[in-house]
């Protein structure tokens, strides 16, 4: 894990769109405390914007009625929340044990060469971002790649080529 404390400000006020607003109101009734809405709210922001800005965190803090630092804590603790904009296609390659044993490095190396970015980077055209992530729970079909949330199992370079072709 690297430092995630640097938040990005959009300079614009944030608010949920009507769909997320309704979803917030639906979900908040499911929990005995409003603070339980911290994780679901961060997901709603990420669904809406693709990432979580400083303004969005402040909005959620005020909407829930809690300290902004609590939102900040959760957003920086849970690594799936993107604290800056990602590529149009966000590629996660599992780096952990079983995927490592079954050749995840070939996948990462190929992506580095093909897209020209290292894990943690976004391509200049904004089309791709690459991340090496910890175990994705698909060890029996390793190595696994997750593109925009969708799993692609038993990956190899050939399969990756055809997958990339559908994304470009």
């Amino acid at each position: 894990m690297s430092d995630r404390s640097q938040l990005i400000s959009t300079g614009e006020p944030f608010q949920f769109d009507s769909e997320r607003d309704a979803e917030f109101e639906r979900l908040v009734k499911r929990y005995p405390t409003r603070e339980s809405m911290i994780l679901p709210s961060l997901w709603l922001i990420q669904e809406q914007e693709g990432w979580v800005s400083q303004e969005a965190m402040a909005y959620v803090a005020d909407r829930i009625g809690t300290f902004a630092t609590k939102i900040y804590e959760a957003a920086t603790f849970y690594t799936m929340y993107h604290l800056h904009p990602m590529g149009e296609n966000h590629i996660c390659v599992c780096r952990t044990l079983s995927c490592w044993l079954r050749g995840k490095q070939d996948i990462v190396d190929y992506l580095k060469d093909e897209i020209g970015i290292k894990p943690g980077q976004i391509s200049e055209d904004g089309k791709f971002s690459l991340e090496e992530v910890e175990c994705l729970g698909h060890c029996g079909t390793a190595p696994v790649v997750q593109v925009n949330g969708e799993f692609h199992e038993e990956m190899d370079v050939d399969k990756l080529k055809s997958l990339l072709a559908t994304l470009k």
Binding site: A74, T96, C135
Partner: protein
């Protein structure tokens, strides 16, 4: 060797849909369950010998018995679907292929422990699985299996799917509770245990998906039918995940107590590419490694694992072949546990980072024998000094590699060259 108890519906097309699942028996135990007293349900589960399938292996029925009586507070059930231990991927099959078996299990458990509110904590990475699970819960509500009158009985039950967001430690049951409460997933000091003071300060039972999903079979067929599988102390079946260097990796349901090497050879097709096995991790990456000769006498049950100074864990078996560089493997493991350290308590927060850097130094060829010794010593210094067992999940296996493959670490720090050349 394979059996189909939990996985009975896995091969049936669209069994995740409630109509199909019902055609194959889903929710059929409920009338029987509601005709029993909650205590009778608990007794039946105790009798079955079902042990928690999350990794610790604590008897499920006994755990339920820890709930204090008549506290005047609600009792919560939290279903742990955070499976994040490297090499563990069994619960995912239940969530996607037969979620109604789990929901039926939730109803049974809730009735037994007199709980009316369940939170299913699912790891954030399971994107499509979250949707599948939510769809199944929605179906169950529509069909009247959840809500104010479960299956027409005078029993109210609400189930909420709570999605994690990338934190292995939330599989630790009190970290999971913190996360549902909207906080960082930092484990709580125990006591108090969750059964007494859990979610929102109320009595709470936390069970793994597979444990919960085992309940319909136990209640339908009876404890004895369940105990017909497995061993005396490790009863029933388990969804084993086999990964790494085998010909046929995947998820297999097996009775407990079967020989490990036989499973690797006969079920998983043996070590891939005709190579030799260098080691096997028996129950997820946090369990101490076994050498092939040690593995010969191991059977897949809690007792045999303990006798061999390792653990049954989550049933995630990883085989690695002779080409694997152990120092690199250890680096991969430490990187994981360091990345997942919640940062709460000193030994784990600081110690795992130190271990990671020392291992990197050794791998880079800059290490000394002192570094190898320090790495080994740190395993002892960190372990069991922490709030939870995450640090032990790192130090236990790392110690086993250092003890069993010490020569490979030494090869990196001597002038003769690295183990990469030695192999």
């Amino acid at each position: 060797m394979e059996v189909k108890i939990l996985s009975a519906k896995f091969d049936i097309e669209d069994a995740h849909k409630i109509e199909v699942a019902k055609q194959h028996g889903a929710y059929s135990t409920l009338d029987k369950v509601f005709s029993m007293q909650p205590e009778e349900v608990i007794e039946e589960v105790k009798k079955s010998g079902l042990r928690g399938r999350g990794g610790a292996g604590f008897p499920a029925g006994v755990k339920w018995g820890f709930l204090p009586k008549d506290t005047g507070k609600p009792v919560y059930l939290a279903v742990n679907s955070d499976e994040s231990e490297p090499a563990t991927f069994k619960d995912r099959y239940i969530l996607v292929k037969d979620p109604h078996m789990m929901i039926e299990g939730i109803i049974i458990c809730s009735y037994a422990i007199r709980s009316h509110e369940t939170f299913i904590y699912i790891r954030g990475e399971y994107t499509s699985q979250v949707k599948a699970l939510q769809a199944a819960v929605d179906e169950a509500y529509e069909a009247g299996y959840l809500g104010d009158k479960v299956d027409g009985h005078d029993f109210k039950l609400d189930v909420t799917v709570h999605r994690g967001a990338g934190a292995y430690v939330c599989g630790e049951e009190t970290a999971l509770l913190e996360s549902v409460e909207g906080k960082k997933g930092q484990p709580r000091s125990k006591p108090p245990f969750p059964a007494v003071e859990g979610l929102y300060g109320c009595p709470t039972i936390i069970n793994n998906v597979q444990s919960i999903a085992s309940l319909p079979f136990i209640l339908e067929k009876g404890a004895d039918a369940y105990k017909a599988y497995g061993t005396e102390k490790s009863s029933g079946t388990h969804l084993f995940g086999i990964s790494g260097h085998v010909e046929k990796p995947g998820m297999y349901e097996l009775p407990l107590g079967v020989p490990l090497l036989e499973v690797i050879d006969k079920v998983a097709g043996g070590v891939w590419k005709g190579r030799k096995m260098k080691g096997v991790i028996p129950g997820g990456s946090s369990t101490p490694v076994l050498l092939p000769e040690e593995a010969k006498t191991v059977t897949l049950d809690y007792e045999s694992m303990a006798e061999h100074k390792t653990m049954f864990g989550s049933g995630g078996i990883v085989v690695f072949d002779e080409t694997v560089d152990i120092v690199e493997l250890v680096k991969n493991l430490i990187d994981f546990y360091h990345h997942e350290s919640c940062g709460q308590c000193t030994p784990c927060r600081e110690g795992l980072g130190w271990m990671k850097k020392i291992t990197a130094k050794i791998l880079a060829g800059d290490g000394t024998l002192d570094d190898v010794n320090l790495l080994r010593e740190l395993c002892d210094n960190i372990e069991m000094k922490t709030v939870c067992v995450l640090s032990a999940a790192c130090t236990m296996p790392v110690r086993s590699y250092l003890d069993k493959f010490r020569h490979e670490f030494e090869a990196y720090v001597t002038t003769e060259g690295s183990s990469a050349e030695a192999k």
